[in-house]
């Protein structure tokens, strides 16, 4: 396990995207664009000069409106995006829960998907095999484990995905808005699993719109608004600030 005191560090991070206005997906359009020497995109800054660091063992939540840049920050941490400028440093292994079940294939059985997903998340084949029994048990799938997952209910699908991602046993767990799905019993089980992570001193970064969960669960919250870090610190205070932001019609207009 990583012993770095700050597993996640952002230094003045900017993430800029090109937003294509007129799609020039085809050669013909690209050629026309080239001849006319015009650009058909504008740049959009999803994350604007954000700096923060997260200490080992901290549970940090990111809150903010839809489209404020929360998910982009998680993807920067997960290494899916490379920042346009600034520095993102991550020390330790990561299991992203960014949209559970990314990489699941509907025609494959639960068991086959466990292997594929485990390998995609960076485990070795042997590591997956060692954990398979525990993954199946936690997901409560019973004999369905050898059926193609297209026959699963959305709850079963979710349970399997959560089970695989957390059995990876990463140093850093990224949880993106997954606690809002699943029935009460399984949700409690997931929260238990995340608590275990917290108690074993692992670092957790989570995004949710459920302010009750966020303020009871996290040591610290970050409030992101229009790609900027507006406020950070004590959960109660940040949630209060977020409430003010939501209530303020001018802020709503600005969005």
């Amino acid at each position: 396990m990583s012993q770095h005191p700050y597993p996640i560090q952002f230094e003045d991070v900017v993430q800029r995207f090109r937003v294509i206005q007129e799609r020039h997906d085809t050669l013909r359009e690209a050629f026309a664009r080239f001849r006319q020497r015009r650009t058909t995109y504008h740049e959009f800054e999803a994350v604007k000069h954000v700096s923060f660091q997260i200490s080992k063992g901290e549970v940090v939540g990111i809150i903010g409106r839809n489209g404020s840049g929360k998910s982009t920050i998680l993807k920067l941490v997960a290494g899916v995006y490379a920042p346009t400028s600034g520095r993102v440093q991550v020390h330790g292994s990561i299991a992203p829960l960014i949209e559970l079940g990314a990489g699941f294939h509907h025609e494959l059985t639960g068991r086959e998907n466990i292997l594929l997903n485990g390998l995609l998340l960076g485990l070795s084949k042997r590591q997956v095999q060692e954990r398979e029994a525990r993954i199946i048990e936690f997901a409560e799938l019973g004999e369905f484990i050898d059926s193609p997952i297209k026959q699963y209910s959305s709850g079963m699908y979710m349970r399997l995905a959560f089970s695989v991602a957390t059995e990876v046993d990463p140093d850093i767990l990224i949880v993106d808005e997954i606690l809002s799905v699943g029935d009460g019993g399984f949700r409690e089980k997931c929260l238990d699993r995340i608590r275990q992570f917290r108690n074993s001193g692992k670092t957790i970064l989570m995004v949710s719109h459920d302010m009750t969960t966020m303020s009871t669960f996290c040591n610290r919250l970050l409030l992101i608004h229009h790609g900027q870090l507006l406020e950070e610190g004590d959960p109660a205070r940040v949630v209060h600030r977020y409430g003010e932001l939501l209530a303020n019609p001018q802020a709503a207009m600005a969005y």
Binding site: V80, I94, E112
Partner: protein, 259 residues
């Protein structure tokens, strides 16, 4: 760079294998005969070709079916691999946006799944050769050499087309047309001897000629490929891989913004 390629392949071998198995499973799932199709499909194709060229259209080439199949099977591998791998990055776009995963596993897995299919298709060919009382030449033992050239050449082309398709989706359509033109331009259904000698130099510009040549020599003519032929096939394979992988590596970090 080639050493980096080899290292990555080794490092991600379990994932590549799992993805290749996934492609094969998905291809044959929901069919009653399942994996048997990997054998039956080429067998039935061969049966049709043998009937057509053995009884209906007679060519001056002895045992035309074997002549044809010795190059048609590796060609089918090549074209199928390209058809799959050209979509391999775009098709896994949603995954690339969510998990940090080595990009090269996707085109490589597409090629690997087709290698399995290709190797399986050699079994019905052997059977057909025996049934036709055509000699099963000892030079079959040399096949691993042209196979290596073919696999490297295909990997390189797959990297190239998978990359370009991310930026210009037209490519997946262009590949289909390119492949059918390339098919007739390569001496697969005919022999280069049928072409007037003054045009041979044009055909010799086609790298696939060298890559496929060893298969026909070993399977049909029972000749051991000359050293020159083996070197040319390997050189085409390595050049293709080096070029294709260089382009793939150059652009792989921007894939996530375009898929």
């Amino acid at each position: 760079m080639i050493s980096e390629f080899v290292r990555d392949i080794y490092r991600y071998r379990a994932l590549i294998w799992a993805l290749a198995q996934k492609e094969l499973r998905v291809r044959y799932k929901r069919s009653i005969l399942g994996f048997l199709w990997a054998l039956l499909n080429p067998a039935l194709m061969m049966l049709v070709l043998t009937l057509v060229f053995g009884t209906i259209m007679r060519f001056s080439i002895d045992h035309y079916a074997v002549f044809l199949l010795s190059m048609l099977l590796p060609w089918t591998f090549f074209s199928q691999s390209l058809a799959y791998s050209v979509e391999s990055i775009v098709g896994n776009g949603e995954l690339l946006k969510k998990v940090k995963v080595a990009r090269l596993v996707f085109p490589v897995a597409s090629v690997v799944s087709n290698i399995i299919n290709f190797l399986l298709s050699l079994l019905p060919l052997m059977l057909l050769i025996v049934l036709m009382r055509f000699p099963l030449h000892w030079t079959w033992f040399y096949l691993p050499v042209p196979m290596l050239g073919l696999f490297l050449f295909t990997l390189g082309a797959s990297f190239f087309f998978a990359t370009v398709n991310v930026f210009y989706r037209d490519v997946s359509h262009i590949v289909q047309i390119l492949l059918s033109a390339w098919f007739y331009f390569s001496p697969i259904i005919y022999s280069l001897d049928f072409v007037p000698a003054k045009y041979h130099w044009i055909f010799r510009l086609n790298p696939l000629l060298y890559v496929l040549n060893g298969f026909r020599l070993s399977i049909y003519y029972g000749l051991m490929p000359s050293l020159q032929s083996m070197v040319l096939s390997m050189a085409c394979g390595l050049a293709s891989l080096a070029g294709g992988f260089a382009i793939f590596r150059r652009y792989q970090n921007s894939f996530v913004y375009y898929v």
